[in-house]
Symmetry: C2
Subunit: 603 residues, 2 copies
């Protein structure tokens, strides 16, 4: 079947169902960051393989919305199909709702179809409101399953495993008790969970169903006296099933969740508006009233998960040491041996993966390594491809953003280093590197009262570069899961509005950057954990928080413009480097230790 044939097959079903348009989204029912191929409906119907896009098919048009990262790729991959590319990063590009409204304006019988599993409750309701404002009606219906019958990959069927309490730091029973207390406090008696990280965290289970995030494809419903995990029975060995039952977790088939919710006898059901899909919500609505649904964004479960306990934090510190050994070995290799043979961005990433894989408890990378050489470093979501990646030759700057999943924690680190003749480092590069570093340090050193939000602190990382009219388009810090998703909410450190305060135990990245298109990219990233600050003798009594730096890897001093650093900043860097050397040296051989020592010498 060609893409155009698929579109034609869809139109037959649209006509049969009286639909004027059908929307196909590049998401899955679990609001996942990394999707299993089974759910790549958007790619199947368009031929576009990028990670972010939404297709709209009408009786005489087919369109694909995607952002500027994918313009080039989409242009190539849509060739030969009837799809028109909608460049959603362009200011004059209409949103899907705007386009539908102008195309079908006030034709009151117009029905737009979507698969409700592919929309969050909030996303669906927002679209519905926008469309109804112009007289259009949204209809929940899956028209892809009936036509994508041949060659559709199965839902991943990898076994789950129990994540031991010694890593998780809290028993399932204790977590369930806290969740039930939380539900009572909100006058609710049931919680529907669709997001895989949340399920993994709550039930202390992990798996290998998707790349980078060790989660298990499942749904979960917590009630007053029951907790049900909806998961394919082939994924659970008898021993693990018994363990889960022993913890009060009943097992039911994955797809049984829909019927289960249609018959749920709860007084008030809590669901996360951003993480639970509309299909589940519609099932709940068929058994309880609107008023008996508490749709919250974010759900308190997300907040609970984001607060790492002492065992999790201790585990992360261990994982950081493993990561530090890999990084130290990698950078030593890069400086001393690597360039004796041809290297590319991909061979560097592979080498780093190999060093990481030697680490205790390493299971996987926590995301695809970004290795950007010179101009490629300026492409924020750059992913090197074998046929087009850059060769590492001559002088230049390497941006390396990578991370590991270790049984005891998740890491994420970016370092920008100079490769080649130190004398060739341009002054502007040093200035930019130092502006980034100053912001990175200012955030790491922040002290702030309980209740502070990340968007209040963000300016600390931006202030120095803003003074020179330079900024970056990504967030300053994202939450990081514990042996789980490398990006988690609900708090973060960004300029965007976000009402979620920073909690004790939250782990964030601290990653300002500067990107000069066609020249180079700079980013410096550590992970930091939120802890209570020691009381100050002059304090007027509030509770203050501060960050503990978790990541253990030197910064490239060759790229620093020392004259731009204050004495406080120099002292911070020297202290950090002394700590890195102290912590990592015992895990290195003599040559590696000597290398690290020179890298950590005080300024």
């Amino acid at each position: 079947m060609t893409v155009n044939e698929r579109v034609s097959a869809l139109r037959v079903l649209m006509k049969k169902n009286g639909l004027s348009a059908y929307i196909i989204r590049g998401t899955d029912p679990h609001a996942s960051e990394y999707m299993a191929p089974h759910w790549m409906e958007m790619s199947w119907i368009t031929g576009f393989l990028g990670e972010s896009g939404t297709a709209v098919v009408t009786m005489d048009q087919a369109l694909l919305w995607t952002d500027s990262r994918y313009y080039l790729q989409a242009g190539e991959e849509l060739k030969g199909s009837e799809y028109k590319l909608m460049r959603e990063s362009d200011v004059d590009c209409p949103t899907i709702a705007e386009w539908l409204l102008s195309t079908f304006n006030f034709q009151l019988s117009t029905k737009i179809g979507v698969n409700p599993e592919m929309y969050s409750i909030d996303g669906y309701r927002l679209l519905q409101t926008e469309l109804e404002d112009g007289g259009l009606r949204l209809m929940s219906i899956d028209l892809i399953a009936p036509i994508w019958t041949e060659g559709r990959p199965d839902i991943p069927m990898n076994p789950l495993y129990i994540y031991e309490d010694c890593y998780a730091g809290e028993r399932v029973g204790a977590k369930l008790e806290r969740v039930r207390d939380m539900l009572s406090a909100h006058r609710c008696d049931a919680l529907v969970i669709a997001e895989l990280d949340e399920i993994g965290w709550l039930l202390n289970i992990r798996g290998t169903d998707v790349d980078y995030t060790p989660c298990v494809i499942a749904y979960c419903v917590v009630e007053k006296t029951r907790c049900t995990l909806f998961v394919d029975s082939r994924k659970v060995c008898d021993a693990d099933a018994a363990v889960l039952r022993g913890k009060g977790v009943e097992l039911m088939p994955y797809h049984a969740v829909f019927d289960y919710l249609k018959n749920i006898s709860a007084t008030r059901v809590m669901m996360d508006g951003n993480r639970v899909n509309e299909a589940l919500y519609e099932c709940v609505l068929s058994s309880v009233s609107h008023a008996a649904c508490k749709v919250v964004t974010p759900s308190p479960l997300q907040v609970m998960m984001s607060v790492k306990n002492d065992i999790e934090l201790a585990g992360t510190r261990l994982a950081m040491r493993q990561d530090a050994v890999a990084l130290t070995r990698f950078f030593r290799w890069l400086e001393t041996e690597a360039l004796q043979s041809p290297q590319t961005e991909i061979t560097l990433a592979d080498r780093l993966h190999a060093y990481r894989a030697m680490g205790t408890h390493f299971t996987d990378e926590s995301f695809g390594t970004i290795a950007g050489w010179n101009a490629n470093g300026a492409i924020v979501h750059y992913a090197a491809k074998p046929e087009s990646c850059a060769a590492i030759t001559g002088n230049g700057v390497l941006l390396l953003d990578s991370g590991g999943q270790y049984l005891d924690g998740t890491t994420d680190i970016t370092r920008t280093v100079w490769v080649g003749d130190e004398k060739a480092i341009p002054a502007q590069l040093k200035r930019d590197f130092t502006l980034v570093l100053k912001g990175h340090i200012a955030l790491a050193r922040a002290r702030f009262p309980k209740g502070t939000r990340g968007n209040q602190l963000d300016v600390l990382a931006h202030q120095f570069m803003w003074a020179e009219g330079v900024t970056y388009g990504h967030g300053t810090g994202h939450g990081v899961g514990h042996f789980m998703g490398c990006h988690e909410g609900p708090a973060n450190i960004r300029t965007d509005n976000n009402t979620n305060p920073i909690h004790l135990g939250n782990v964030f990245s601290d990653e300002p950057g500067i990107y000069r298109a066609g020249e180079y990219g700079i980013r410096t990233e550590n992970l930091i954990a939120t802890r209570q600050a020691a009381p100050s003798p002059r304090s007027t009594g509030e509770t203050y928080y501060e960050f503990e730096t978790l990541t253990l890897c030197f910064y490239d001093k060759r790229l620093m413009e020392f004259s731009m650093l204050t004495p406080d900043e120099v002292a911070w860097i020297n202290d950090y480097h002394a700590w890195v050397e102290r912590e990592v040296t015992p895990l290195l051989n003599e040559d590696e230790a000597a290398y690290l020592h020179t890298k950590c010498l005080p300024i």
Copy 2:
């Protein structure tokens, strides 16, 4: 009539109307900061004269909610009445909704009465939702007017006057055109305005109906081809009425607005949810449907008003020079002559008022001067009273927060100065003063991209004191009107969540502080205006904003701990002082200029 007799009279009417409780708020129908006595219903029914409070009367209880600023005063003034004080700043104090819900829990016939003129649309709807969640019903009814018949002050009846275009900088016609364009863009064709500052700004009228803010008591409705000012005809002389009519403004009686809205024939009516009262909204709802009301918070009008035009900013710079002369004279008098005779906080404030009153275009103070000597300075909303104010004796620190209304602009400034023997200044006081000053300077020097919100910048002012575990309970910066309210929205610089970005032409205060209860208060405040930053040679192209400092008054160098200041901060202070001296000296006599010169000598 005693307070208890008033409460009894209210209960008779409550019974007649089937109400279980009645709420009386300390607000007016215009969401005013300074209220005319006519609307002081809460004070009349309770005997409590504080500016902030809400009374609840049931058949057998009478309660007054107020915050910690007024605990003492309320305790005194409620004596002898049946009122119970509800201390709303205490963590365990229920909100009014919580108290009503627990008192009348699920008695489905319970009706709670309120005067809808005293609630904003948003406030009313929020209370309604909270009460309905527990089965209670809110009923709009004014039960105070029928019983407060004797001795009730009239609505102020002072004449309005035309605010000349040479001060306003934009003709009424041009403003109305912009408002109508804005309405069209929102698919609306009518705008209801209740807030007096907004009416004064839009129609270029001013008055003297309330203290401190030169506004006129009125309502206004803007439609596609009509603009109606609802104002008592006795306030408008024939000449001004003709001027207004010439600008396309029709006049109708103040109270006619209610009937007018009941019969409005608009397609879609815009109202500010926080500034338009529920009574007006209910009138609109009787002529158009819910869907035909666009309740927005804030209304685009507020944003338009907050963007000062070039004439307004030029006027403010002139007003600042007048203010600077008064402040220089005052501080010189304080240092050289004042203490030769007995002085109190009040005599100082009076003297400052007298100096200001000598200034060109001065009309009034922009708020009641806060003069806090030593421990009184630590009381954030301190208002000295003749019977209890402090005498200025010995060594100490004076916090002086004051401002003026000038025809060409509004000022607001706080300086904290040492009085007495310089050698007696405690080290902690200097440290605190310098932490405040460093934050004040960091905000003044901020540079940030277009679209930035004030809560992103707030940490710049807080960062140095937070590092020592010290903070302040008030906002860092409020918007300031132009010859209008000294506090305006919608943008501000606070820790609170606020989605409104900073616009070019916004004027804010920059006023961090530190308060040591029982010892002293420190606050340092300038007004700053938002302007476009000059393009930086290294910029990657975004539009950057920065602040222009407007206020012209030296900081007390005796209170600075120079060792805590960076070279950049010292340079900023020296530049500021040089500019103050340059701008103000031409307006001073020789002695005053010599005094200012010593105060502005470089560090």
